[in-house]
């Protein structure tokens, strides 16, 4: 009880401090707005925000740890598992090794949190509780990474299509790859691909062959569109064809595929909704029967034959899911 009171007071004091801080900030903003008419520049223009400074410090910490890590080759080999993720290949984001360290840090913090809960709540945790907690917190960032990677790739796909469109436009003026890429680079502002395009421009400027430069471009952004771009550029380079026509064909091909993909998604979602509705009907029936006649299902979990029939129903469910998946995958582009 005492521990609870202490934690409550700590949290309430923290809350009061945060509120006071926010009020102070609000007052500062108000004064800044008032004085901005009479001054050349506002007061706090060069200062970075708290979250940015925290993120910078945290990245520095991760970098320091990654430099002084024992058994570095082992961890580097382990982190190579995460190198296929596009989001970890960006310069401004954390890299694969730092992500691995972050995973360890989260797991350690979670363990400390568990120990604190045990002390404050007077709980009796066993060894396996800590083990499960560690495993859970260690694998949780992977899930976040997968979700982030999915959205990142979606964005990258859209901007990749735009990049190809712009490249196609640039080729209309001249058939030189170097000039076209430089032209596209001029137009791109805040884009996920800007760093990669800069590198591509540099590669071409330093005399790297076209196919190799585009391969390096693909290595930075692992999405199928750029592999296709690499293939077309390489083919054009080998057969000594016109880049303008090649890019036109690529654009046509990609947009045709995109249109087909959208059509597939429309069909797929329609089937998905109906199948999901039919998938949950037996569950709803089960719930309704259980609450209406609670004794009706007693025999199902008391007699071995009942348990067998439950297993059979579960197997039917698995077969149902697998068949549906097989049918859906068949029409995929």
């Amino acid at each position: 009880m005492q521990a609870l009171i202490i934690t409550q007071t700590i949290f309430s004091v923290l809350l009061v401090i945060v509120i006071l801080f926010l009020m102070r900030q609000r007052r500062i903003a108000k004064y800044e707005k008032r004085f901005s008419y009479f001054s050349l520049a506002s007061v706090y223009t060069d200062k970075i925000s708290i979250s940015d400074s925290f993120w910078q410090d945290f990245r520095l910490l991760l970098k320091k740890i990654s430099r002084k890590l024992p058994f570095l080759p082992f961890f580097e080999k382990w982190s190579s598992l995460y190198e296929n993720y596009n989001i970890l290949r960006q310069k401004e984001k954390i890299n694969a090794l730092e992500f691995l360290i972050l995973k360890f840090l989260i797991a350690i913090y979670f363990l400390i949190f568990l120990v604190l809960i045990q002390i404050l709540g007077k709980l009796n945790f066993q060894g396996y509780h800590y083990l499960i907690g560690f495993a859970f917190s260690f694998t949780l960032p992977n899930l976040f990474l997968l979700v982030l990677e999915y959205f990142w790739n979606q964005k990258l796909n859209k901007q990749g299509l735009c990049f190809i469109l712009e490249l196609n436009d640039a080729f209309k003026q001249n058939d030189s790859v170097k000039l076209a890429v430089a032209n596209v680079l001029k137009r791109t502002n805040n884009n996920l691909l800007k760093a990669s395009i800069e590198q591509l421009d540099n590669d071409l400027a330093y005399g790297l062959e076209i196919d190799k430069a585009f391969w390096r471009f693909y290595l930075q952004n692992h999405i199928p569109i750029f592999y296709k771009l690499y293939q077309y550029m390489k083919a054009c380079y080998v057969i000594d064809g016109s880049y303008k026509t090649s890019l036109y064909y690529l654009k046509k091909n990609l947009f045709q595929k995109e249109a087909l993909k959208q059509e597939y998604i429309a069909h797929f979602h329609f089937v998905k909704i109906i199948c999901f509705g039919l998938f949950i009907i037996p569950f709803l029936l089960l719930v309704w029967l259980y609450f209406s006649f609670s004794d009706y299902f007693n025999i199902m979990y008391t007699h071995p034959l009942g348990i067998l029939s439950i297993i059979f129903i579960l197997l039917l469910y698995i077969l149902y899911y697998l068949l549906l998946r097989f049918i859906m995958e068949d029409g995929k582009l």
């Binding site: 077309y232 390489k234 083919a235 080998v238 059509e263 109906i274 007699h303 039917l316 549906l324 029409g331």
Partner: protein, 232 residues
């Protein structure tokens, strides 16, 4: 060797040839022969039948039906389905190939040279088949031999007809016209096939969902009642 002899003696030549043709069309090189496939299938069918015989009373019927479905299903799952998937992929690859060939023929008016340079530039399944055929008949063969080699490895009439019209075209100025026409046809064909597949997906998906949800619902409702009846 004994396995080969066994399958050769047991199965008809027609089915042996059919499996061989299908294995070639899946793109599998030398990992499995038609005799091995037939033997493995037969052994698995016998095993399934024997396991099902252990079920009292209805074992024979269940075993027979399971064995029949497995015999039919294994060919569909391991041969027909991958062939269909590969054919779809080959059609997209053919589209790329035709685009590149069109570009190559602008500078080189020789079809063989253009084909060789395009097959060297692209790396996909279709180009590997073409490269193999060129390697085999580079010195002594003609387009006819190359086409025969392609026929053994591709089980798609449209793709073969494209190569046929390219190989047997005598007018060098007609290439661009032929290629653009085929590209339009090919894209139309891909779209039609996909739409057909999606319609089938719709019917199959909803059919399977209705069938299974009905069966599971009936089982859930009737299982406790039937169990009580059997125990009484």
């Amino acid at each position: 060797m004994n396995g080969v002899f066994f399958a050769k003696k047991l199965f008809s030549k027609k089915s042996q040839e059919r499996i061989k043709k299908k294995l070639m069309a899946t793109g599998v090189k030398d990992s499995i022969t038609n005799y091995e496939f037939l033997n493995v299938r037969l052994i698995l069918v016998i095993l399934i039948f024997m396991v099902c015989l252990l079920i009292p009373k209805i074992g024979f019927i269940v075993g027979f039906s399971f064995a029949f479905f497995f015999y039919w299903g294994m060919e569909y799952l391991f041969l027909d389905f991958p062939i269909n998937k590969r054919n779809e992929r080959l059609e997209w690859e053919l589209l790329e190939f035709l685009e590149m060939l069109d570009l190559a023929l602008v500078k080189k008016n020789n079809l063989l040279e253009a084909l060789q340079s395009v097959s060297a530039s692209l790396d996909n399944d279709l180009m590997i088949i073409l490269k193999d055929a060129f390697q085999k008949y580079e010195l002594k063969g003609s387009f006819e031999d190359i086409f025969k080699e392609l026929e053994t490895k591709i089980d798609n009439d449209f793709i073969l007809s494209v190569f046929k019209s390219l190989f047997w075209n005598t007018n060098g100025d007609m290439y661009h016209e032929i290629i653009t026409e085929y590209m339009d046809d090919l894209y139309g064909r891909i779209v039609i096939n996909k739409r057909k597949q999606w319609n089938q997906m719709l019917i199959k998906g909803i059919g399977v969902a209705i069938f299974f949800s009905l069966i599971i619902s009936i089982l859930l409702i009737l299982a406790p009642y039937l169990l009580k009846m059997v125990l009484n």
